[in-house]
Structure formats: structure tokens, C-alpha cells
Amino acid sequence: MAELAVEVTDLGKRYRVGIGADYTTLREHMNGMFMSRRAVRDDDEPRELWALRDVSFSMQQGDVLGIIGRNGAGKSTLLKILARITEPTTGAAGIHGRLASLLEVGTGFHDDLTGRENVFLNGVVLGMSRREVQSRFDEIVEFSGVSRFLDMPIKRYSSGMKLRLAFAVAAHLDTEVVVVDEVLAVGDSEFQRRCLGKMSDLQRSGRTVLFVSHDLGTVAQLCPRTIWLAAGKIHADGPTDQVVSAYQESFGAPEIAASLERASGGPVRLDSVRLVAPDCAALERLRRGDPFTIELCFTNRDTVMGLDVGIYLEDSRGVRAFDEGLSEVLGLDADLSAPGAHRLLLDVPAPLAAKEYVVGIWLGTRTEDFFNEPALRFEIKPALEDSRDAIVKSRVLHGTGRWRVMSP
């Protein structure tokens, strides 16, 4: 008989924003005290912000729950409250047993200490006793693969080694509830595979896991149930398939327009993203197998050295069907640095499976992102001759798209 492992009731967290939010010196506080209430109020800005509001859910022991939502939806606030790093303003969050978060790998690591010393320090910081660390020490070291350098200060480690050691400690915490946040996005692919393997181990060993990620594909793989947080509230809570596809659908026109708007502040303005036929004629229909082209128009406000463009297609479960950068294909031949309007065409190699997709656009340089958001949603209808099988079968493209730069 499964028992409750996590119980969250009416959870709310309020932050004060604007004037009077954070007095960091005494003088400012004094000013705040003596300033008339009226003067403070004159400001039209809202004075408080509910990062979480009325959030309630519960998990049985052994449940694996995905949490998705856009930036600022309250995911990290929720995790912080579950981990007791901060107190809620309303409600309560109960955890049965101990909670470890894999989001804070390497917390407490000190560069001047050796690998061995850091394992113990980090283990205790994350809530293990020294005895527990001792008893799992060999496992941790083996998992990290840095055994030869254990008595060397970690400042001489490569960043990859540090990360592996840190993750190894966190992954060997023996707690009832585990929170995982985006950690899997770091490290080389071999290490990521081991992390994913460790995740499945956790699941099999009956641990309760909360998994927070932007990578909808992984969420869909690992979690049977998902909660979608939006503006601090639970927008949907149910089977992952349904929640993730509803979430994908939310990238509809209004939000995309808003994100295009937001991006207009940087040195590059994204003007439009359209689907067209390869000859740039309007696209009349889009069935499986029909060739189509993504047309992208943007304007450089200035010379933007090293500007590069990436385009990806994601299905409603978040699985990437296509993901390519302009410079990967054309190398240095593509120069988009000139100021003014640019137009870019990408012929997507057919055929993609018949389903819904989101087109995501990335505009940036090696060091900076100007735009990185979903920008367009479309659906490929089944071809007339398709059997039911062919419709559902997902196809991931590894082929190269044909890029055409139509700059002025």
C-alpha cells in the first residue's frame, strides 16, 4: 500500500517588489520608514508578486512527477520551498523523510580542498552523515571516475571532472525524495547517459522523484505524470502526454507575438517566421511528404559580428525532429553580420511524421543569445495514402537541411 511521500497544500509565496523591496543598507531602511506612505504608493508598480499561489498536490511513495512551465512560472520557488530553503507565505509543504536535490551539485565545493575532502564536505552539506559518506565513498569515486586525482586540490581538476565528482556525491544521497533540476543538461553525452541511467535507478529503487526540466522529451520519457505551472499556479496536472501537448499548444500566436516583441530590444530584431513552399510561393497544404521551407526575416540594427542562426522543430512531446545551425552547414560562407534586413530560407528535408510541430528559432553569437524561443506552430497532415501506422510513427531527421541566405 503506497503511502504519501509529498503533500503540498495551498502553497503560496509572495515576494515584495519595487520600492521598499530590499533595503540593503540601514540608511535605505530609514528612508523607507520616514518616507510618507503616500509617496511610496504614488508609484503605480505592483508592490508584491506571488511567485506561487494556491498550489496543492500530493505524491505517493515511488511516484515520479515532472514539473514544466516557462521561466518565472514558479518552478524554482516551489523546489526551494520543498527543500526548506525558504519559507512559504501561505500553506505548507510536507515531505515524508529526507529530500535531496540534484540541482545543487557541487554546493560547498572549495577549490583549495582535495577531491576527497570535498566529497566529505559536500556529502555532509547535502545532508549525509560522515559515516554514510564513508560507507559510500568507493561507489562515489567509482561513479565519478576521478579516482586517480582524489588527493589533488580540485582547482587543478578540469571543469568536467569537478562536475562528475559533484554529481557523483549528489547521486549517492540515500534520501526518500529526490529533486532533479536541469542537471542533465550539462556534461558530455556519455556522462549524461550515466545520469539518465542513475535517474532510472532512483525510480526503480522506489524513490519519489520530482523532475523539473525544459527538456520536454526527457520529461515525457521519465515521468508518467506532469504538473504544468504557469504564473505561480498549477495550470494542469495529469498524465504527461496530455499535459505536455497542452503545454506545447500554448505556444500559440499570442505568446509568440509577445516573445517576438520581447526580443526586439537587442541588436537583432526577428521580423517574421513563415512556412512557404520551396519556391517561396504560399503554402497551400502541408501533408506528410510535401516539401516545405521555413522563411526567416530579421533586421540587424548594427553590424553584428559572428551572428548565427539555429532552427529546430519539436513535436508536441518535446522530441526534437530537426535541429541545425546555419554555420554548421555553411561554415564561414554565411555572413549575416551586415546591418539591415536579412532573409533566410531553410528547406526542411522531408519527410517528417504527420503531427504538430513547433519551430524554434535561435539568433545569437558564440557568446550571446539574442533570441531563443519557439516562434511558430504548425501541423503536418497525414498523406492520403498513409496507413494508421505511418501516421503515428515518429521520424527524427538527421539529414541536413538546405540553407539559403537571401541577404541584401
Binding site: 504519501l4 559515516r131 522506489g206
Partner: protein, 310 residues
């Protein structure tokens, strides 16, 4: 939604060391293992404004304070040339200066004890308290990543900052012993109370450290106030002079509001067989206790905002 009535309020983390022998435990995560029975830990919205720090919980996490202190100790003398000798260098140099200025030039009375011997133990304990207070005050802020990323009873940060100094204190008090032996000063029976005065000095450092640590999270003014504060505190404490210098009456009452008065008087009494602490020192001890209790309450009240404002 249901509110779970069975969840006990503010319950505890399972004891870490004691939890080890859970039945059915398998190393390595293996196949399905029996999840050990553990208590609910509830993070709920505060209902009371003022409440004390949960000392029982802090005690269960004591290993963390120990590890943090160990880290400080290990790092302090790593890559230094003089190593642990630094623990002695500071009070010794100060002693030389004070012995010349106050002992020789100003000829401050020293209850009939050679001036250097009279000053040195007080200087040691003062050094411990002052470095402890400033370390405790700055500990939380200098370990922001801990505060914003993991849970632990926050009170352990200032506490752990007080521990490394104890090592220095013991080393320098041993040196004081050598100094006494060399000058023929012997302790009386009050030497048995020595641990009590050291403990009292820890409480002084803890009380002030808690206040300043909590304040420093919010107001970074503390960092700038500290040197000035400590300097003033040094001169109103009977380090370079005897408290018998203060005339009886309201002035001595005022003087005894200083928590360090009792610590230093008591230490001299125990170690150097100086006159027993005056009755005024009861006030000094009371102030210390008040400082610790109020420090715990204030720390708890501001603790809940640490992660948000730090």
C-alpha cells in the same frame, strides 16, 4: 484538496547517524528496497512572529558545523609559510606593544602581577571573542551559495565560525601557561573553573555573532561597523587594565554591562590567582545570557528571509 490532519507540525528530519540500520537496506540502490519509516518534515507558513531557534534540530545537524569548521581550519593555514604559528603571532605582537605602552609608560596597575602575564590571557580570550564575532557575522554572507541552495539549520553557520578559534585559543593559553611558569605566577584553586570562563566567552561570541550575522544578511553596514565596534569594545573591556581600576558605584554597574567583563575577570581569577570577580560581574553574565537568548530569537525571526534577501 485535503489537509492532512495526521501530519505533525514542524517535525523533524530523521536522525542522520542513527538511521543507518534500516531493515531491508541495500547498498547501491539495487532493486526495490524498503523505504525506512521516517517522519514528516513540514515547511509551513509561519504563524508566530517570534520563536526560538530549533536547537534540537541544530544538534542533529552538528556534523555540518563540524565539517564547516574543519574546512575553515584546513584552509586557513594551507599555502602559508608560518602555518599554525600565526595563531600565536598575533597575540604575541599585541602583547609586546601593550606591555611597553601600558605596562611601562602608563604603568597601569595589574593587581600585583607582572604586567605581561596579567595581560596575556585576557588578550588571548579577547582575540578569540573578537575574531569569532567577526567571523560569525560574516559567515552566512560569505557562504551565500549554501544559504540559497541547500537546507540546514542556519544557526550552524555562525556557530561553525566560532569553532576554529577555539583551537587558537587553546594553543595561546598553553603559551600563557609557559609565560606563567617562567615568571613564577601560579594559579589557585579557582583554576578548576577555567572551562567555565572559556564557555562563557563562547556564549559572548555566540550572542553577539548571532545578532550581527542576522543583521548582516539584511544590512551590509555590519561589515563596515565591525572594526569600529570591536575597537570600542576592546577598550571598554578590562584587557589592558584591571577592572579594580573602575571605582565602585554606578560607573562600575555601567562597566559591567559589558559581557566581556565577567569573562576576563573570571579568567584572571582562575588562571593567575587574581582577586575574585566583583559582584558586579553577575550583571555581566546576565547580559551575556540575555544576548544569547535574544540573539537566538532574532536570528530565527530573520532566518526565514535569509534565502530571499541575502
Amino acid at each position: 484538496m485535503q489537509v492532512k490532519p495526521s501530519a505533525p507540525p514542524e517535525t523533524v528530519l530523521p536522525d542522520k547517524p542513527e538511521r543507518e540500520p534500516a531493515v531491508g537496506r541495500q547498498r547501491g540502490g539495487g532493486p526495490v528496497r524498503e523505504v525506512p519509516r521516517t517522519a514528516w518534515v513540514v515547511n509551513r507558513a509561519p504563524t508566530k512572529r517570534w520563536q526560538g531557534v530549533d536547537l534540537a534540530e541544530a544538534w542533529r545537524y552538528r556534523e555540518l558545523a563540524y565539517m564547516l569548521a574543519l574546512r575553515t581550519l584546513k584552509l586557513r593555514y594551507r599555502q602559508t609559510f608560518f602555518g599554525v604559528a600565526w595563531a600565536l603571532l598575533q597575540p604575541l605582537v599585541a602583547l609586546a606593544i601593550f606591555a611597553v605602552i601600558f605596562g611601562r609608560f602608563a604603568k597601569l596597575p595589574a593587581d600585583g602581577i607582572p604586567y605581561a602575564v596579567f595581560v596575556f590571557p585576557a588578550l588571548c580570550i579577547w582575540t578569540y571573542v573578537s575574531t569569532g564575532v567577526s567571523a560569525a557575522a560574516l559567515e552566512l554572507v560569505s557562504h551565500q551559495e549554501l544559504v540559497t541552495k541547500v537546507y540546514f539549520p542556519r544557526v550552524l553557520a555562525p556557530v561553525s565560525a566560532l569553532l576554529p578559534g577555539v583551537v587558537d585559543l587553546v594553543i595561546s593559553l598553553a603559551l600563557a601557561g609557559i609565560l606563567m611558569a617562567a615568571t613564577g605566577v601560579t594559579p589557585g584553586g579557582a583554576i578548576l573553573l577555567l572551562p567555565m570562563w572559556i564557555l562563557l566567552s563562547c556564549l559572548v561570541a555566540l550572542g553577539s555573532g548571532l545578532w550581527l550575522a542576522a543583521l548582516n544578511v539584511r544590512y551590509r553596514d555590519v561589515r563596515h561597523t565591525l572594526p569600529f565596534l570591536l575597537q570600542t569594545w576592546f577598550f571598554v573591556s578590562p584587557v589592558v587594565y584591571a577592572s579594580s581600576l573602575i571605582e565602585d558605584g554606578w560607573l562600575h554597574v555601567l562597566f559591567s554591562l559589558n559581557p566581556m567583563a565577567a569573562v576576563i575577570d573570571g579568567l584572571r581569577w582562575s588562571l593567575l590567582d587574581a582577586p575574585a570577580p566583583p559582584v558586579y560581574d553577575i550583571l555581566s553574565v546576565a547580559v551575556t545570557l540575555l544576548l544569547v537568548v535574544s540573539g537566538l530569537v532574532y536570528f530565527r525571526a530573520s532566518e526565514r528571509k535569509f534565502a530571499d534577501v541575502i
